[in-house]
């Protein structure tokens, strides 16, 4: 009896692990972006090596790319010379080594973790890596997907393999169903609150149970995306009809006979009944409420109606409160908000934009609040515009941008100012994450949009109506 993780792992073992050496694990898809790869390509060049499988490698630009729409073939200027140099290096490396690149002019460009799934390249049973910790996103399809460092990017380029010790497994059982106004983002924030930011260290999480089964693919990606915020090596969800319906007909998904063969293989992936996990944790889905962070890591999170905890004598907690400008014991509802950010690899897909637009329709962004809506990819942008979501955002007073990581990581000049409070659909509320001195509250697109309308932290259920 094997778990899904075990099946995928064993199918990719080129050489099994021994006491002396880790397993040599084959990688089916290597995603590449501008920030974590120049030093890896430099090693290839120094050692006169070539990428082994450029055909299994796909590059896009997302972290430091501008999101302002500027007419003309070259768009908006990059934030700095160094960012321009990184972009130019990626172009040069991909051209030299024959790696497909979605550059600034390509309509398939977008955040690396949005692009793979929407093309149908992210598939059940694959091993997928990228020099980015949110690679865990792709696990939503029943793939084993994890973030790697730049040296490992070099290893995969050169050999299409990685040296890996087999991680432990942890089942995350989420029963019941999510209530109205409660989203996949709230589910994963609730889990991180329960097990902590180091709670998943050394483990691959497999999300199971009725609350997971009823989620759509985009919501499943939100859940798996933030597995790393619990410290987990990866997160995964067994493929099912929802997965297959999402993939069928995508440009890079198998077709015809190959599709039928793929389905047979994919159906063999879910873990055997009774397969043992090293650990199990349980959440009751129907009890989860809209969640929001109040501190400086994603584990400092609570139901939106709760009061900020009091931890007397804890210097680290006091420092976080002073950074955030909050007093322990006070409610977070009605705290003033300066910036609202909808986007990122966590919540930058079409369903996220629909969800924010649903709340915004017929409302205005409160005076003094900057609201930035950044689609996860150019394809998401196009699809959103086709159904008029851009008009909803623009009419409400929000800024509608080109795709990219944008304000999630603040590398491209889209920053939150020092001392400003941002309700953000992104994944990290670390000190300075959205800009030096920025104060980030992580929440769902619904909560973010509701907070934009009132200019204060707002429970979206109060605006959703009945």
């Amino acid at each position: 009896m094997k778990t899904m993780f075990q099946k995928i792992w064993e199918r990719h073992e080129v050489v099994p692990e021994t006491e002396a050496t880790p397993a040599v694990l084959y990688i089916d898809l290597h995603l590449v972006h501008e920030v974590t790869t120049p030093q890896a390509f430099a090693v290839l060049r120094e050692q006169a090596l070539r990428p082994r499988r450029p055909d299994l490698t796909l590059a896009t630009m997302d972290h430091s790319t501008p999101t302002r729409s500027v007419p003309g073939p070259d768009g908006a200027p990059l934030v700095s010379e160094s960012a321009a140099r990184q972009i130019a290096e990626l172009e040069r490396n991909c051209a030299q080594y024959g790696i497909e690149l979605f550059d600034m002019r390509n309509e398939l460009r977008g955040i690396v973790h949005i692009v793979g799934p929407e093309l149908g390249l992210t598939q059940p049973g694959k091993t997928i890596v990228c020099g980015d910790s949110h690679t865990s996103t792709h696990g939503a399809f029943g793939a084993l997907a994890f973030g790697i460092g730049t040296t490992e990017v070099g290893h995969v380029l050169a050999t299409q393999c990685l040296l890996q010790r087999r991680p432990k497994t942890c089942a995350v059982n989420v029963s019941g169903a999510l209530a109205t106004g409660v989203t996949a983002k709230d589910l994963i924030l609730a889990l991180i609150g329960q097990i902590g930011v180091g709670g998943g260290t050394g483990h691959v999480l497999e999300y199971r149970g009725s609350a997971i089964r009823t989620l759509g693919m985009e919501e499943r990606m939100t859940v798996c995306n933030m597995s790393i915020e619990a410290g987990a090596r990866a997160g995964m969800i067994a493929p099912d009809d929802t997965t297959y319906a999402y993939l069928e007909g995508r440009p890079r998904a198998p077709r015809g006979g190959a599709w039928q063969r793929a389905l047979t293989e994919w159906n063999s992936l879910p873990g055997d009944a009774g397969a043992a996990f090293d650990r199990e944790v349980t959440l009751e889905g129907s009890r989860i409420e809209p969640m929001i962070t109040f501190g400086t890591n994603p584990g400092m999170v609570m139901p939106i109606g709760a009061c900020i905890p009091t931890q007397v004598g804890d210097a680290v907690f006091s420092k976080a409160m002073s950074y955030m400008g909050f007093r322990p014991g006070e409610p977070i509802i009605d705290q003033p908000v300066n910036v609202v950010f909808i986007g990122s690899c966590t919540n930058g897909r079409l369903s996220d934009l629909r969800s924010a637009a649903q709340l915004l329709r017929g409302h205005k962004v409160a005076r003094g609040v900057q609201m930035l809506v950044v689609p996860g990819s150019q394809q998401v942008k196009k699809a959103a515009e086709a159904e008029g979501l851009d008009r909803v955002f623009i009419d409400a007073g929000a800024e509608w941008r080109e795709s990219g990581c944008s304000m999630c990581i603040g590398m491209n000049g889209d920053n939150v100012g020092a001392g400003q409070v941002s309700v953000s659909t992104s994944n990290r509320n670390f000190e300075g994450r959205q800009g030096p001195g920025a104060r980030t509250l992580l929440a769902s697109p619904l909560t973010a949009a509701a907070s934009a309308v009132r200019g204060r932290v707002t429970d979206p259920r109060t605006l959703l109506g009945g």
């Binding site: 910790s133 040296t151 393999c161 180091g198 260290t201």
Partner: protein, 191 residues
């Protein structure tokens, strides 16, 4: 890579738990195409104020912290992103080891590939180190121990192959490339 076996250094202590990679090296310094020179920006926003002046109260800015090669930190050090710039910055600054009760997975992997030792010790030893900044300790990779001043030893484990590479100054890529035949076999199976 230079072989590592043992070294002696005083410690610098950052007691906070969950020190994330955005604190170690903020994202705006990742717009580089080389590995070197990041030590200047290590812990940038904790180390310098908004005018760029060093904050005197920050541990790394104190005279006693100069030339220390061992960082002692709170639980779950290095959580967050996969940026290898974090160990690059620590090494470039002069650190050769980080000691904690837990260190994040990707940070650990990145550190080992660059010769920065991610050392996880028992809670009591870690607490002693947190309580005694500036203590002179010896890190012995061969024996897998940190020797504290009174001669007390705290054991640590480094993954066997990474340990072999560190002790012998061997690069892991060479080993991976030597698996060519097995890799080709795997590819022909899948095709």
């Amino acid at each position: 890579m230079q072989p590592i076996s043992q070294f002696v250094s005083r410690t610098v202590v950052l007691p906070a738990p969950n020190i994330d990679t955005d604190q170690i090296i903020p994202a705006r310094f990742l717009r580089t195409t080389v590995r070197s020179g990041l030590g200047r920006e290590l812990f940038h926003d904790w180390r310098y104020d908004s005018t760029g002046a060093p904050r005197p109260e920050f541990a790394l800015n104190q005279p006693a912290a100069q030339d220390c090669a061992i960082l002692v930190a709170g639980n779950n050090f290095g959580c967050g992103s996969s940026r290898e710039h974090a160990p690059w910055a620590l090494l470039d600054y002069g650190f050769r080891a980080v000691i904690s009760t837990a260190i994040a997975d990707i940070f650990t992997s990145n550190a080992l590939k660059n010769g920065l030792l991610p050392i996880v010790v028992d809670a009591a030893s870690a607490q002693w180190l947190l309580d005694n900044p500036g203590a002179e300790v010896r890190v012995d990779l061969e024996r897998g121990v940190v020797v504290l001043p009174q001669g007390r030893e705290a054991r640590f484990q480094i993954e066997n192959f990474a340990r072999y590479c560190l002790l012998n100054g061997v690069d892991e890529l060479g080993y991976l490339r030597s698996q060519e035949a097995a890799i080709a076999r795997h590819e022909s199976r899948g095709a």
